[in-house]
Symmetry: C2
Subunit: 114 residues, 2 copies
DNA sequence: TACCACTACATAGTAACACCAGCTAGTGGG
DNA sequence: CCCACTAGCTGGTGTTACTATGTAGTGGTA
């Protein structure tokens, strides 16, 4: 796995969680599947370990329901599905991100007035 | 209405540095002034200590030139100005942010193809 | 059988960053 | 004399993504 840039690594802090929750909002997923879906979205360098750790974290924070589903190829899958609390948290995430995004867009184009 | 909290704190990791560099690109600043300019931009809850630590860091990384200027009220000011390396770094930052921003925008509006 | 590739999950250790809480120090006003 | 404002600095903490590695099930193949 090619190392991801330092800037991207730091910028993903706080946003990767939202990305994963938003991806789960589209359709439930298990860890291995989530990694694949992130890669499809262009996040080609997200490490598997990072995804598993993040899923454990959001489960611990009560944002998802987990169901164990047997697999035809390999160990049983832990399928994560967003629950009501997760959807609320995701909504908060979008609010936070929208604020930040607007401020940065303003800075980027030199329009410093609101 | 100020979106503060844990989400914002985490999301600022990696982006706050770019925000400060972009602000310096507009006009050089010293720490106390930078804090004020960030508040004007809507980042009302950025701690002073955070700003000073960040300025020390970007100086250490050679992204800025520093000039000590006497003040009429209070201790001398350390004025930070973006140098060539800082401008290159800022350009990289905008590239990274644009990538992330586009991915998130896509997720936000449910356009998950392409 | 022995080996390998792919699927699937897990974790210990590390680096980076923003925050909190507190500090020193200069200037001018009540 | 004390306080408010300006101005800069630091140690310790919590959170997060990354690296590197380990465990385990299934199917193919030599």
């Amino acid at each position: 796995m090619l190392p991801v840039g330092k800037q991207m690594t730091e910028m993903l802090k706080g946003t990767l969680e939202g990305i994963v929750l938003a991806t789960l909002a589209v359709k439930p997923a298990y860890g291995y599947d989530m990694t694949a879906r992130l890669r499809e979205q262009g996040f080609t360098d997200i490490a598997e370990g990072t995804v598993y750790a993040l899923l454990v974290r959001i489960e611990k924070n009560g944002l998802v329901e987990v169901e164990k589903v047997p697999s035809e190829k390999g160990p049983p899958r832990k399928v994560y599905a967003l629950n009501a609390q997760g959807r609320d948290y995701l909504a908060e995430f979008w609010k936070t991100w929208s604020f930040l995004s607007q401020r940065l867009e303003t800075l980027h184009h030199g329009r410093n007035e609101a």
